[in-house]
């Protein structure tokens, strides 16, 4: 019995030492891009601790927003290198987790998943970013909550509506917390507005949308051949974010 346990233990230890030749310094990276950064770059360093060369078969990112690159196709014994994962932030918010799958020709552990976690700072958090009234509904005000993101101090905010059909009013409800009341003048017409929200003394612009929508239960009038159904209005186009800003 003792011999069996010894054999098992030795085979277990042997299995552990004989695993992947490519040794990764880390397979998970957490990044904290600065406010306004366009990209977040993760470096995954490795070393070939085996006795034979390792070839990369593929390096594949989980999302089109992430580009993964290997410095070389072959890693000789003892050689070091890194996989670079470049995550394009775009107009993403909050915590983003992207993965890069690396396939090699190693005898064991041919597939390694590298994880890149980017925590994108958010100056203002807005909820909801969309308020709507059904056509014909009472034109009561609806509220949007705005509060300063973690590590940001916001004393005042500015809110403006792209359409005079909607009125906005800002109330301070606490430190760095605001309530934006939005009210349409009427709900008889299908109208829309882009609400622009900015923290005082900050160039960064946030957006919300207010609109009057078609009522779901209303029967849809059949459209006669050759005629077009009336289209719902689109809120005025939001300007693309300037290069120094991202949303």
């Amino acid at each position: 019995m003792k011999t069996h346990i010894l054999t098992l233990t030795l085979s277990f230890i042997f299995c552990l030492t004989a695993r992947a030749e490519l040794k990764w310094e880390q397979t998970a990276v957490e990044l904290h891009p600065a406010h306004g950064d366009k990209q977040a770059i993760g470096h995954f360093k490795y070393q070939n601790v085996g006795k034979t060369p390792v070839h990369f078969k593929s390096v594949h990112a989980s999302c089109g927003c992430t580009a993964a690159q290997s410095q070389k196709d072959q890693v000789g014994p003892g050689e070091k290198g890194e996989i670079t994962a470049t995550f394009n932030i775009g107009e993403r918010t909050g915590t983003q987790i992207k993965t890069v799958t690396v396939e090699t020709d190693e005898a064991a552990n041919q597939k390694t998943v590298l994880t890149l976690k980017a925590i994108i700072p958010q100056e203002l958090e807005i909820s909801p970013t969309f308020v709507f009234w059904k056509q014909g509904e009472k034109a009561d005000p609806k509220s949007i909550t705005v509060h300063a993101g973690k590590d940001f101090s916001v004393k005042h905010i500015k809110v403006s509506s792209s359409s005079p059909d909607f009125q906005t009013k800002v109330e301070e409800t606490g430190e760095g917390q605001f309530k934006v009341n939005v009210q349409p003048n009427e709900t008889g017409r299908l109208i829309a507005s882009t609400l622009t929200i900015q923290a005082e003394n900050s160039p960064k612009t946030f957006y919300a949308t207010a609109r009057i929508t078609t009522a779901p239960t209303a029967p849809v009038a059949p459209v006669a051949p050759g005629q077009k159904a009336p289209a719902a209005p689109t809120a005025p186009a939001r300007p693309p974010a300037p290069t120094s800003q991202t949303h």
């Binding site: 233990t9 089109g64 107009e91 994880t115 969309f130 709507f132 689109t234």
Partner: protein, 142 residues
């Protein structure tokens, strides 16, 4: 004899668990334990098709992939140009409509992320991720 074999098998099983347990403890703060999309937030192609005009299809892939080809009638909404594209989608949305979001394949994250933003930020109900994504749609429509 049988008892001895069972005991050895148990010991072997316990040993095989050790590396996994060790890794889970050591990397507990470093690994993202992403849960799969709950089945209630997913929809099959057949089910989504049955919804007909009461569904809006959202293509969460990057612009170039959308421009190459997409589900007929789908609206582009990706996080690269979220602010610009969201109002266009909201103009097509009305209460009671179901939203079907897809990206390239089952394994991609874009559809899940767009669906999550629509649910959390815009607070829209009935937002679903298409099972299998664009890849599955193409297979079904060959």
């Amino acid at each position: 004899m049988k008892f001895s074999l069972a005991r050895q098998a148990l010991i072997l099983a316990a040993f095989s668990l050790l590396p996994g347990v060790g890794q889970a403890i050591y990397f507990r703060d470093k690994i993202s334990w992403r849960s799969p999309i709950p089945p209630s937030e997913m929809v099959s192609i057949d089910q989504a098709r049955e919804w007909g005009d009461s569904a809006i299809w959202i293509d969460a892939r990057p612009d170039d992939e959308f421009a190459r080809d997409h589900v007929p009638g789908a609206i582009s909404l990706n996080e690269d140009r979220w602010n610009e594209l969201l109002p266009e989608f909201l103009a097509a949305w009305s209460p009671g409509k179901k939203v079907v979001v897809y990206c390239s394949a089952q394994s991609c994250d874009l559809a899940r992320e767009v669906a999550e933003r629509l649910r959390k930020e815009a607070q829209l109900p009935d937002v679903f991720v298409l099972e299998g994504g664009w890849e599955a749609w193409q297979k079904k429509n060959k």
